[in-house]
């Protein structure tokens, strides 16, 4: 790396935006990549080699549903041959025992399996899934346990499934992965469209954190319990992606290199493509990665803030989504002049009448906005 440019640690490889699920909180952009524009196997292998040469350690193979690509085995092999740690983030839907053996044989290090809840209805309501989805996930979990690979369960949690949290922990103990993530929805992409239905109340959130802390203590040494809190309720913002252009490089299905999943929402940013430029050049030189790297771009209150090296001003995409300007402090920050925007969203959610209006919303308005499949 040239002086001053940080070394990325993880490559997030969005292999496709095709997916058998239609989750209401999907982090894919509203404009999804088309199948005919997806990168070839050979291009992904080159990107892995270039990433490893830059110091990247891990490849997170995600989507959409990565298993929708028939060349996934070859892609995993390519990541391993390049020297990367290969993680697969999957719904488990298009998987059978034979294909699992094949991808484990190709060198898969770690598989992360997503759940929408602890019963069929949740997969159908929040994932737009067809019947049988939940059973399939349980089958996949049993198959994965037969292999000696890293295994994480991922539960995306929100207002409508938090009452299942204890059942989720019980299911986790029954399955016995090495690690489990309880990720409160983050409000980008499709989740931003469905935010007012997904955002938990303060009481729900507090209770969920108590349950999670207890589980974390009780399962220590058996299952690593990790959780992500919804930052609208936080006092300070999250260090989004570990800082812009600092730890993570994301490559979309058609090869655009982005600093994060949501970066396309920021107007005026243009992204270079791995088909036209080496990954290192994009990371070091491209306008999109340099724009919010470090702290030269900051304005007050971030510019002189003691926390600017801890949270890097929070999330640029969230600043744009909530305040209309990507360079302001993340509006979830209690020091941000834009914080009232977040407070008013929370006030509406926590209004004692909100529960009643919630059911009116359910009756009166079209329901969830489901993520469609790209053509």
């Amino acid at each position: 790396m040239s002086a001053g440019t940080p070394t990325p640690l993880a490559l997030v490889a969005e292999l496709t935006h095709r997916c058998p699920l239609h989750c209401v909180y999907c982090s894919n952009p509203l404009e999804m990549a088309r199948r005919d524009g997806e990168l070839s196997t050979e291009t992904w292998k080159r990107v892995f080699r270039e990433a490893a040469a830059m110091g990247v350690l891990q490849a997170d193979l995600t989507g959409g549903e990565p298993l929708a690509r028939t060349d996934l085995t070859e892609i995993i092999r390519g990541a391993r041959v390049a020297g990367l740690y290969a993680s697969l983030i999957t719904s488990g839907m298009p998987l059978d025992e034979h294909r699992l053996e094949e991808i484990v044989g190709a060198g898969l290090d770690h598989l992360q399996l997503s759940f929408q809840g602890t019963h069929e209805d949740s997969s159908i309501e929040f994932g737009g899934a067809r019947p049988g989805t939940y059973e399939q996930k349980l089958r996949v979990a049993r198959w994965v346990k037969k292999h000696r690979i890293g295994f994480t369960l991922n539960f995306v949690i929100h207002r409508k499934n938090l009452d299942q949290l204890e059942a989720m922990i019980a299911l986790t103990e029954e399955i016995g992965p090495g690690r489990v993530e309880f990720a409160h929805v983050q409000y980008y992409g499709w989740a931003f469209s469905n935010r007012d239905r997904l955002l938990p109340s303060r009481a729900q959130l507090d209770r969920s954190l108590e349950i999670l802390k207890r589980a974390q203590g009780r399962l220590q040494g058996q299952i690593r319990v990790e959780y992500v809190v919804p930052d609208y309720y936080a006092k300070y913002p999250k260090p989004c992606m570990g800082g812009w252009g600092r730890k993570v490089i994301l490559v979309t299905p058609n090869g655009d290199a982005l600093p994060c999943h949501a970066a396309r929402v920021i107007p005026g940013l243009s992204f270079e493509n791995v088909q036209n430029h080496p990954l290192r050049e994009i990371w070091e030189e491209s306008e999109a990665f340099r724009k919010y790297r470090g702290d030269d771009w900051m304005i007050e209150p971030c510019k002189s803030c003691d926390r600017r090296a801890i949270d890097f001003g929070g999330c640029r995409c969230q600043a744009h989504l909530l305040a209309g300007r990507a360079e302001v402090a993340d509006p979830v920050c209690s020091l941000s002049p834009e914080r009232p925007v977040v407070d008013s969203i929370l006030a509406a959610i926590n209004d004692p009448g909100a529960a009643a209006s919630d059911s009116q919303v359910l009756q009166g308005r079209p329901e969830w906005v489901y993520r469609p499949n790209p053509s």
Binding site: L57, S87, G178, R179
Partner: protein, 91 residues
């Protein structure tokens, strides 16, 4: 937990030692740990064949200038930490 001396620690599923640009790294789900000196000497021996006792003895020889009791305490603490992080199984 305190590791028992007769147990054989082994890297947990999904964890492996890697080398990149002359730097040894312990790769784990969603995390990575750079290893040097004693931490590397310990993790290299967590292969399911060395007992905790053997690892302690090896390290006491490697670091013969250090107080042997302190070496043992440090190793047991480090193994317990890796276990709690789910990077290690004791077999």
């Amino acid at each position: 937990m305190t590791p028992e001396l007769h147990k054989k620690p082994r890297l947990a599923a999904g964890c492996r030692l890697n080398e990149q640009n002359q730097q040894r790294v312990l790769l784990m789900p969603e995390r990575a740990l750079r290893l040097n000196g004693p931490s590397l000497a310990i993790v290299e021996r967590c292969d399911g064949t060395h007992t905790v006792q053997q690892i302690v003895s090896d390290l006491q020889r490697l670091y013969s200038k250090a107080e042997p009791q302190k070496v043992e305490t440090d190793i047991l603490g480090y193994l317990a930490l890796l276990h709690d992080e789910r990077a290690l199984d004791f077999e």
